[in-house]
Point group: C3
Chain length 366, copies 3
Amino acid sequence: MTVTIAELAHALEARSWGDEALEVTGAAEPGATQPAGDRGGVIALAMSPKYAETLKPGCLAILAEGMDPEAYGLRAAIFAPRPRLVMAGLTRAFDTGPDIAPGIHSTAVIDPSARIGEGAAIGPFVVIGADVVIGARARIASHVSIGRGSRLGDDALIHPGVRIAHGVTAGDRLIVQPGASIGGDGFSFVTPEESGIEEIRRTLGERAEIKAQHWTRIHSLGGVEIGDDVEIGANSTIDRGTIRSTRVGSGTKIDNLVMLGHNVAVGEDCLLCSQVGIAGSARVGNRVVLAGKVGVNDNIEIGDDVIAGGASKIFTRVPAGRVILGNPAVRMDTQMEIQKAVRRLPRMAQQLAKLQETVTRLLEKG
Amino acid sequence: MTVTIAELAHALEARSWGDEALEVTGAAEPGATQPAGDRGGVIALAMSPKYAETLKPGCLAILAEGMDPEAYGLRAAIFAPRPRLVMAGLTRAFDTGPDIAPGIHSTAVIDPSARIGEGAAIGPFVVIGADVVIGARARIASHVSIGRGSRLGDDALIHPGVRIAHGVTAGDRLIVQPGASIGGDGFSFVTPEESGIEEIRRTLGERAEIKAQHWTRIHSLGGVEIGDDVEIGANSTIDRGTIRSTRVGSGTKIDNLVMLGHNVAVGEDCLLCSQVGIAGSARVGNRVVLAGKVGVNDNIEIGDDVIAGGASKIFTRVPAGRVILGNPAVRMDTQMEIQKAVRRLPRMAQQLAKLQETVTRLLEKG
Amino acid sequence: MTVTIAELAHALEARSWGDEALEVTGAAEPGATQPAGDRGGVIALAMSPKYAETLKPGCLAILAEGMDPEAYGLRAAIFAPRPRLVMAGLTRAFDTGPDIAPGIHSTAVIDPSARIGEGAAIGPFVVIGADVVIGARARIASHVSIGRGSRLGDDALIHPGVRIAHGVTAGDRLIVQPGASIGGDGFSFVTPEESGIEEIRRTLGERAEIKAQHWTRIHSLGGVEIGDDVEIGANSTIDRGTIRSTRVGSGTKIDNLVMLGHNVAVGEDCLLCSQVGIAGSARVGNRVVLAGKVGVNDNIEIGDDVIAGGASKIFTRVPAGRVILGNPAVRMDTQMEIQKAVRRLPRMAQQLAKLQETVTRLLEKG
């Protein structure tokens, strides 16, 4: 794919400079960018002076506002008002994505009752069950399976090896990375009598006589409901609900190896980073950001706009707008104070011991 | 599937009330349940008064003992002596599970030496290796692979994309959720000379000269042995043993994204929640419950009936029956005390500083 | 496979004893080893006296130097100078690995432009895209997909269900366990205005007005570059880079369910244990060992030869050679002191309270 500097600047809603007819064939880091040829070349991402210093003369580059293209000997430049936002537009322009040939591959096994939207591309060894509905222009890569009655909206991009079970519905523009599982059975079991876990939740740790008991499965009759513009990362797992559906709101992005348990409800425009785990029936508001390895206890509620720092473990309800950190998670500023105090704790123990001695001596004197 | 109120009550070993000839076609939450039609309808799960209040008149419902069906204007009701247990029976009754057509799909690649039990259903693109034995009535969904000589008991349900390597044996009623891997190679490496890890385990942190060394693989000749009634969650991984097998006892349930390392032995009737990791050669007793994100160090032993709270990190042996929490995990009541004290620590540091001043002044006066 | 005692000793560069013409057919734990027959049998791994005591007379065994084969009534023995190293050689000798028939399976879908090396074995339902290059003697198991233009070196072993996207390059002897995903898209998003995360990174927790914003994807144009002798565990995920590639150096071994984010660079000869997560753009040096469940923050640097204990959470730069532990991770010896002090903290709080009383009384007396 090639676009001219002028076209790219237009697409990015940004200002350009220099020879705007040169063609851009891709993007690279400044140090790895070769000078443009007669017709153009790759464009360097040089939005900070530190990176721009490594540019060779004669390159194409994206600069931050206020940087001087002549100082770097550029042939053409585009000015990024908000660099990360420009990155989004630029990388979208050059992302070819996975190869999925148009049409339905001859090896795909598709139930005759399934309805496949116009312009959909379906790769080798895909299995699509009864009554499935796939929207227009969907791209479904190799080895994907989609179970009975599931429905995907328009423009879905399903990477290889994704598992979508029966009874899953998703809006438009769903992206699922390789190996993710949507709609596996919930992890929900019961013992004939009260189990040890139920007992310690009630007694906070005390246990009476321990009895052998077997676990009986509570089956998952609910499905999974996913909004528009959702992305689900590689090898992540979203379990189906018990009676109602597990839910992920529109605009929410989920990273790799994330777990959403049965009946979980996640709101809109959330970011759930890698290895986050949300236990059964927890409710997460809108615009919540959970950093990597955050854990959320079952059945609790996280309010809107909460941000949880890396590896926070959330055991109790979190009010809207709070920024939290730690295990157990508390307000981030409180956690910072605690961490400082904990680091000083060994010294503090010594000071206390010494003070005790001093006071003992004072007492003896007194 | 439909059953009458009378039949469902009988199956659940529960008492029924009202028009027992009405048919039940499914289950729903009280607020989402429509009044029954002439022949019946879905049944509401209304086992607490709070939920039952949202019932419309004319519904079918499951109530807890002691609740009054007339107060909610019901047409029929079933009384649940232990609600979660009734949930198990009810959801089992209505769970259709994944669609796997009877017989062996024409695309499946099955070694002629494999023995497939009577009534087994095998889906598209399944690969079954030499000398594999599959029990009666097994249901094996699309894209599953099963390696040379592995044996599954009767009534297995293997969801799409599961990887079962060679030399894996499992008892009856095994359930494996999508994408799980059973029998990958263990993560076991050795350096020609003592490695840094071996050194710090010996010296507890002190390191002499650091030398460059390459890792040499210790291959995994053992397999995986799984008992009866085991369930393994989506995208979980159970590695094969080095010489003997990695073992999972009967009745143990494993959630999504769980890791069991090589040579691990897990007892019977355990619950291992999502994202639990158990490092190589650790031994876990019977009826142990590890909550989400719990980590178990390699080579240690967890006694019977231990319960570890969410995200506990277990570095040392845990005696039978103990309830633990935290990183490092300690008794849950101790951990609660520690957490309380830690939260007060910044204030305590101030108090100590003030006390030091006071005593200094006392000393000067004295 | 069978070798004689003499041949096995030679392969292990170790000394042998007894009837060196006996054949070895496999390896077992001492207690599970039967006496050798006329031609030989399995060899017991009995490198410590404790294990050797369980040997029956007439066995074959591997002993540690200094142990007496006659005392255990052995027919033949091999002496292991460094037992774990001998394990590596011995297990390699007997590891048959997965069955992948020679040649290319008739069901594989391989783009005509792909170049497959001599002696490669490719299993059922494999999909190989345009311009892919596969080295000599590669073994690619069932259900694997490899995207456009990716290149694997010689002697690769790719287990079932592995996902290799487009633009991934790897050196020789790559091993990938089942279900791993290499080259999924990075988790990188931007909002039109400054997001809450950017804000709290700047203000360390303070947030002004919270505004609703949608996340826009920054696409991943980079690939993944993997050195020689790398191993990647089951269901692990390595995301592609944004502009440059995500990198894994030669000799590095990665366990199951590990996450490497976009742009991450891991050096040579590292060990990354199960459930490790390394966030975007972090740089990890050579010979670094991260134990199970370690988390590394985005954009930070871990020096050469760092060792991080189980479940450490690393938020800031770590200098070369350091041994660290905890959340947040600090030097291991410091962490040990902190943990000791924290366990005593509830008692310390009582002591402080008592001391305050004493000093108050002293003041009153004074």
